[in-house]
Amino acid sequence: MNIKFVPGDSGMRRWFFQRITGIFLVVLLLVHFTIMHFIGTGETTYQTVASRLASPLWKTFDLAFLVFALYHGLAGLWVVVDDYVHKDGWRIFIYSLIVLGGALLLALGALTIITFSPQMLTTVKM
């Protein structure tokens, strides 16, 4: 079994940023859990989510969460492919899916977070 890596880097940067984003995820998840499950009513209603998403601070927090979680998860998937998918064609195919899927999810997520304002829904309702 002779494995050709496509593309063939050592994965040093991916390894490094996997760790960096991992550290950020610990912090962000701790904040997330505290807010969601220990502080507040414990209920997830439109009202509570909308009021948080209205503030620029929370938008920044959620954007950071989006970027770090997306990068971490997809870079992790990339590593799994590096290790276990040995056919060049499959590798290129899955790498493309990861890049395209990542870009799509990033765009959708960012769009949702950045453009969200609590008035939006009420306008639609009227």
Partner: protein, 233 residues
Amino acid sequence: MKVTFKIQRFIPENDTKPSFKEYVVEAQPNTTILDCLNDIRWHYDETLSFRRSCGHAICGSCAMNINGKNGLACQTHVQDLKSGAITVKPLPSFPIIKDLVVDLDKFYEKFNKIKPYLINDGPVPEKERLQSPEQQKLIEESTTCILCAACTSSCPSFWADDDYLGPSALLKAYRYIFDTRDTSAEERLSVVNDKHGVFRCHTIFNCNEACPKDINITNHIAKLKTALVTTKL
């Protein structure tokens, strides 16, 4: 007491795939697995092949898979294992030459890749090249490797990619990169920073569990990663 052995046999001239054969030998709790294998070979079945030399856990020849765990046959005693039949297999993931003897050519090729010898371009000193106790301490643990291949054979990253340098070669790379008498760290680091190199390690710790010398291999590999990230990122 009587001890039952289930030994994986493969004779390339006769067999298409490996199969198990049972042997019952007389042993004491403190008899080594190597002594049992010798007993089988000398008194029951001379066609059984395995490697051994020193019998004292220092040559590294007798590494094999005993009850599912890689280790040295000469360092494992009957009493170390759960009662019942003792299953002996060759080191996993290496090509089998015969019975418990595996092909280690590629393993040694990788060992050679990291240039496992002192390189120093400086003038040759009159006497030995001195190190402080602290400098020696940096590499002391890594110098105790006996090149038995138990670690590399236990590594899932190696199972998935047989071109992966593997824990044994990486440990040896550490041993020279962090040796203050060696001047070729840069070159060795670039050998290790390869697509089949140090970043294929995912800190699984199988190598540590397999190592008969109790070397914390994973820790040494982590230091290689840190050295690379801090100098080459």
